[in-house]
Amino acid sequence: MLEIKNIEYSYKKEKQTYRYDFSLKAGEIIVISGVSGAGKSTLLDIIAGFLTANSGEIILDQVKLTNLAPEHRPISILFQDENLFEHLSVEKNLALAFSKAIIDKEKIAIALKNVGLVGYEKRWAKSLSGGQKQRVALARTLLRNTPILLLDEPFNALDKKTVKDMRLLVKNLVKQYKWHTIIVSHNIEDAAELNAKNYVMKNGILKKT
């Protein structure tokens, strides 16, 4: 269970305070929508540890994450772009998931198979399409297998067919690996397609719809 307990955050020089209070079970997906600047991505930054909340707690299976540095949190985060190092091959991008220098080629091949990119190991990241890049980033998430997955508008830069494929892929992976998944999205179809709970950010408060 991932619990976001009474989190409050306000940016310097801004009067608005953002408030978040909810929980989700393993294998559950939450989609958060709202207008630009409503504070959706701010929540992901707080959970990932890039921003420090003014108050509140983040608890995963009764373990407090609130005071951990971003690199020590059991979290994978994906943005709409900049998820890969474009000057590296797919294999080397995936190898970053391992803490040791040894590249486990077998595991990489399985992860790539899971995201539908068999044989892409030696391809340069920069030569991939937007959808393929997101799949590689998801494959790295698979290799890391952290219990929390945060997706910040991950389907924005993709065409309709790719979005559909990616939704299906995310849905299946979350179900299989039991990740606690939070997705920030502008697209109202995402929640329905992913069988997710729908939340909205309005006037600085996150509410279930």
């Binding site: 690199e71 020590h72 943005f79 970053l96």
Partner: protein, 534 residues
């Protein structure tokens, strides 16, 4: 019809820009042939040359190679440390390193002597503890030290901008992957800076290869002489024009060969332009290394500047200030610097807007020719070209001197000025070109309403940079200066030559203060002025 006027204005503008770019290039070619022409006349005298040219070339190349390696190493380390650390006064430190590009190198060399020389601060400190001070600031070590301090700070400023421009999302991805400091450097920082290294390396190599005041003041004799200093010595000291011409041609050819990799690699120095809003600090050994590097860098760069100010104030300031010759040299420097700055801005805006407006690669390249002029033709060679040119057409070099100084100093500042203006003007052109043309804005209106308000700060930087370049020039004035017509650097050099070190200290301090004030305040004033208009 309305659109037609806009296009006409735009086409007229392009033609004027092309003519100016071609005129500058033609002037350069003309000066080059003035030198070659004289060189051919003296070809038969080859046997009479008493200088070991091969040794000179090898010395120049070795000194420049070592300077480049050390400067790039120092620049990368300083940029890395500055990017990671956050502390009170960081902006001041970044600004301090930015002044490396405008601080007159002869002033910095003077400051280094004050700190590291035999009677310098460090030597006095050693004496206090009864220790023996054996380090000599003169010779190859001193030249490398000065070049590393100046060019390392310059490199740090350029590279920091690129590291700071790494997108926040990429940083967050790397941090959530728990990359080690080394992996972070290789995957993020190196990827960001490596593209700029060929161009930056070439520029630093050329700056070191053509370095004049530092080698002149710290070289410590013929053994460490570079081509640039040898040309000056041939003209001014041994009056051997034949040798000067021959050395100039060698210098030109070598500079062209050196600048080629930068042009071919197509690397660029402009900021990547992405705003950086996320900081990822590091702790432990990495942080200790960053603090240590920055401490040493600040000490190495700021101490000579501080020494100049202290020596200047302590060195009989009133006596020097009471001399009319000091004020005459100051007035000459300020007038020439101001006019040179205005001319530089005019040329840089025209060339940068022209390059942004042209889509044709060849025309773009023609407009880019003046950018490489200085990089290929160093100050002393340019000065010699002008010197021979005015002599050939029967004008006294003394009479032509003010005009030559304004034009030559402006040409020297041009590549750096265009590098500052071009990215901003390119962006404006991409965003507003269609809109301004559909609104049928005239060239003047477009400049007043669109371009000027958006590039106010850059205009200020260009004016400050060109002014400071001109103020610190010793290369051009070295051939044109006389007792009647001299500038501050020339007066300082003459003072040093006649062992009037106190006078030199006051002049150095005055030049440094003038440069810092202009470099810090002009961009600020212009940004405020353009914002007011905006």
């Amino acid at each position: 019809m309305l659109l037609g006027r806009g296009i006409l204005a735009s086409e007229k503008r392009k033609i004027i820009m092309l003519i100016i770019a071609l005129s500058i290039s033609a002037l350069m070619v003309f000066l080059f042939f003035s030198i070659i022409n004289v060189g051919n006349i003296f070809v038969s005298n080859m046997a009479t040359i008493k200088i070991d040219i091969l040794q000179l070339i090898l010395m120049s190349l070795m000194q420049a190679s070592l300077s480049t390696i050390l400067s790039l190493g120092a620049g990368i380390a300083i940029a890395w440390s500055l990017n990671r650390l956050d502390f009170f006064g960081k902006n001041l430190v970044v600004s301090l390193f930015a002044t490396a590009i405008v601080a007159p190198s002869m002033v910095v060399a003077f400051g280094l002597i004050s700190v590291w020389g035999r009677a310098g601060w460090i030597a006095q400190l050693f004496e206090f503890f009864n220790w023996e001070w054996q380090f000599s600031i003169f010779g190859l070590g001193g030249i490398l030290f000065a070049h590393t301090i100046l060019n390392g700070a310059f490199a740090a400023h350029i590279l920091l901008a690129r590291i700071d421009a790494i997108p926040a999302r990429k940083l967050k991805t790397a941090q959530s992957l728990a990359l080690t400091p080394f992996k972070r450097f290789i995957l993020l920082d190196w990827a960001a800076i490596s593209g700029a290294l060929p161009a930056l390396g070439s520029i630093i190599f050329l700056l070191a290869f053509t370095s004049f005041p530092i080698v002149l003041m710290l070289g410590g004799g013929v053994a460490n002489q570079t081509l640039e200093v040898a040309i000056y010595s041939a003209v001014r000291l041994s009056f051997d024009l034949d040798l000067a011409v021959r050395l100039s041609i060698i210098q030109l050819v070598l500079c062209m060969v050196i600048i080629l990799p930068a042009i071919i690699s197509n690397s660029y120095l402009a900021n990547a332009g992405v705003n950086y809003h996320y900081k990822w600090r590091q702790k432990g050994l990495a942080q200790f290394a960053q603090i240590s590097i920055l401490f040493v860098a600040i000490l190495a760069f700021a101490l000579p500047l501080l020494a100049i100010l202290v020596d200047g104030i302590a060195g009989g300031i009133l006596d020097t200030l009471s001399r009319p010759s000091f004020w005459q040299a100051s007035l000459t420097s300020i007038i020439i610097g101001s006019l040179s700055a205005v001319l530089t801005l005019f040329l840089a805006v025209l060339i940068a807007t022209g390059r942004a407006a042209f889509s044709n690669g060849i025309l773009k390249a023609i407009l880019g020719l003046p950018i490489f002029a200085y990089l290929v033709i160093p100050a002393v060679v340019l000065s010699l070209g002008f010197y021979l040119f005015v002599k050939n057409i029967g004008i006294s070099p003394t009479k032509a001197a003010p005009f030559v100084l304004i034009i030559a100093n402006s040409l020297l500042a041009l590549p750096f000025s265009i590098a500052i203006l071009a990215p901003a003007i390119e962006t404006i052109n991409q965003r507003y070109n269609k809109l301004t043309r559909s609104l049928n804005l005239s060239s003047l209106m477009r400049w007043r309403m669109v371009e000027y308000p958006l590039i106010g700060r850059e205009i200020g930087i260009v004016l400050a940079l060109a002014f400071c370049f001109s103020l610190g020039d010793l290369g051009i004035i070295s051939l044109f200066g006389t007792s009647e017509f001299n500038t501050l650097p020339y007066a300082m050099y003459q003072s040093l030559g006649t062992y009037r070190n106190n006078d030199a200290a006051v002049i150095a301090a005055f030049m440094l203060i003038l440069c810092l004030v202009v470099f810090w305040f002009l961009p600020m004033i212009f940004r405020k002025l353009s914002n007011a208009r905006n």
